[in-house]
């Protein structure tokens, strides 16, 4: 039923994506592709341009140069809400709950707009999303009253209610306890297993490598490594980006 036009090609592709703010180049001609059903991790020190890259993919930031292709189609000019409806859904690093309405209404909003659904079908989608993220018991609570973990779950519930084909996760494990991260990893694994392609930015590396098939690494807005997780993390360029020129942790210890 969900047979795409070109099942062989990448589901999402970045072509020479560049973002400049005046003299500052946040992303410099970044190119990579995401295969259908793949989970891709994005690593890089703070300020490497990871969030900006994700925002360009989701459509909330317009690239200065370059293109975004979705299922082979150029969607660079497509606004964020439309991209969301075609299946590219981003969760924000800082959760963006609609604080004055209930958890249920938050997710129903996503199902009605991002999911493009109506009436009972929208309610079913919202219900399923809340059930998957384990937030169903808090459906009547106002979103503003949720804890950080609750807010992250809500962010994910809303994304799921939009029925994503490509899920863009921005540091969703950041600030959570080990137990919470464990739960979250299980949930993301399950989402991935259901056929959703994922791009995940994360500093909690053990969580990331538990899920992703492949990594890319950014530093100062440039793509410095790409490949299997182990390969990338043991590469010279990657170590330099994280630990400095002579990755001298040895000396400190």
């Amino acid at each position: 039923m969900s047979q795409e036009h070109n099942t062989d090609g990448p589901v999402l592709e970045a072509r020479a994506l560049t973002k400049r703010y005046g003299a500052l180049t946040v992303n410099d001609a970044i190119g990579f592709s995401l295969t259908k059903g793949e989970a891709l991790g994005v690593l890089g020190p703070n300020g490497a341009g990871k969030t900006t890259l994700l925002k360009m993919l989701a459509g909330s930031v317009a690239p200065t140069e370059g293109k975004v292709l979705y299922q082979g189609r150029d969607i660079t000019a497509l606004p964020e809400p439309h991209r969301c409806r075609t299946g590219i859904v981003r969760t924000s690093q800082v959760p963006q709950p609609f604080e004055q309405i209930s958890v249920w209404e938050n997710v129903l909003t996503a199902a009605s707009h991002g999911g493009g659904l109506h009436g009972h079908v929208a309610e079913d989608a919202a219900y399923t999303a809340l059930k998957r993220t384990g937030l169903l018991d808090r459906h009547a609570k106002s979103a503003g009253s949720l804890s950080l973990m609750g807010r992250k779950r809500l962010e994910l519930s809303r994304a799921l209610a939009c029925d994503p084909k490509v899920l863009l996760l921005d540091e969703i494990a950041g600030g959570l306890s080990d137990f919470e991260v464990h739960d979250l990893v299980a949930l993301i694994k399950e989402i991935h297993a259901s056929g959703v392609s994922i791009i995940w930015i994360e500093h909690v590396v053990h969580a990331l490598v538990a899920v992703v098939d492949r990594l890319i690494a950014l530093d100062f807005g440039e793509l410095i490594a790409e490949g299997a997780p182990k390969e990338v993390m043991e590469g010279e360029a990657f170590k330099r980006a994280y630990f400095g020129e002579d990755h001298g942790l040895g000396e400190v210890m």
Partner: protein
């Protein structure tokens, strides 16, 4: 929804118990019905002065509902709705005097004209946010007022024009027709807002109010949603403008485009309770009571209104309705969406 269900398939008493509080749904409906019967029959039992006060109540209520939808739900703090009141008033003049239409038929036409003129101003205004948006709405309204005042002879300049064709109606008939038009307008405003809020547009609006970026991330077309609300509010203000001057007959630019139309309405919504449907209703009642109490104080009354509004904003930002509902909320208009009853059986499992 669950009410209908219980009619079709009555539950055994044991399972019915947790839903017993839904019986309260009936109370607001009875209340609403009683108020409606009283208002519809008012011209038959009330005197002329009561009827005129009620009509004034209707148009302030309509303006308050429209402004509340814009500011309280969509976060668009306009102080320029008088532009559309004035445009409505001058639509009445042009349609009734120059084109010879029945003055009462101009009310819906005024709404359409206001909406058409609101569209280009929305292109301008939606580039701005917060205080900039607010100031720009005022600037637009002042520009229109000054233009009509000084430059358009056809509309009578600063002295304005009189809707002479209203003379064709017997006074009582005119007052009754005006009264029912006002009642219809107030009902359209209240229930228009209610049904809009119950729809997916209502969810989008509340999402936008809380975080616009978050709303866009879940597929809400923020511009489009805000435009729907802005045009709706303009239409209500336009129709209200035509109605006001069916009663007042003389249309002068300084009065029709007066900032007071915005100021009083903001006062009403702030004291009643912003971001609720009940708030503006309560606020309009309070406004009328206060205005009666302060009658004869002239400029002082404006100062006192301002002072009350400031005190309310500082100590009860959710208005009187918010204070009344702080402990045990009893909404008359249920706009909140709840987890449907059909899912409730599994609720505990999660």
């Amino acid at each position: 929804m669950s009410e209908n269900r219980s009619e079709i398939e009555p539950r055994p008493p044991m399972t019915a118990a947790p839903y017993a509080r839904e019986a309260h749904v009936a109370l607001p409906l009875v209340l609403l019905g009683a108020v409606l019967v009283a208002l519809v029959s008012l011209p038959f039992w009330g005197d002329g002065s009561l009827q005129r006060t009620a009509l004034e109540f209707f148009y302030f209520l309509a303006l308050a509902q429209a402004w509340n939808l814009m500011a309280g739900y969509a976060g668009m703090m306009s102080i320029g709705q008088q532009a559309f009141v004035g445009i409505g008033a001058y639509s009445l003049v042009v349609f009734a005097e120059d084109l010879g239409l029945n003055p009462f038929l101009t009310i819906p036409l005024a709404a359409v004209v206001a909406m058409i003129l609101a569209l280009p101003s929305s292109w301008l205004l939606f580039r701005l946010k917060g205080a900039y948006f607010a100031v720009a709405t005022w600037v637009i309204a002042e520009t229109v007022r000054l233009a009509v005042n000084a430059n358009i002879d056809w509309l009578g300049g600063g002295r304005g024009r009189t809707v002479r064709s209203l003379g064709q109606f017997d006074r009582h008939l005119r007052e009754d027709l005006g009264y029912y038009a006002g009642l219809a307008l107030a009902l359209i405003a209240v229930f228009g807002v209610f049904f809009l809020l119950r729809s997916k547009t209502g969810l989008a609006l509340q999402a936008i109010r809380d975080t616009e970026n978050g709303a866009r991330a879940v597929g809400v077309e923020t511009r489009r949603t805000k435009r729907i609300v802005y045009l709706f509010a303009a239409a209500i203000a336009g129709a209200t403008g035509a109605l006001i001057y069916i009663v007042q007959i003389n249309v002068r630019p300084d009065a029709a485009f007066s900032i007071n139309w915005a100021a009083y309405v903001i006062f009403i919504v702030v004291i009643g309770g912003i971001g609720t449907i009940e708030g503006p209703i309560l606020g309009t009642i309070l406004f009328f009571v206060l205005r009666d109490l302060l009658e004869g104080l002239e400029a002082w009354s404006m100062l006192i209104f301002g002072l009350i509004a400031i005190v309310m904003m500082l100590f009860a930002p959710k208005g009187i309705w918010g204070v009344m509902n702080a402990h045990r909320p009893v909404p008359l208009f249920r706009t909140a969406r709840k987890l449907p009853a059909r899912f409730k059986a599994d609720e505990g499992e999660a």
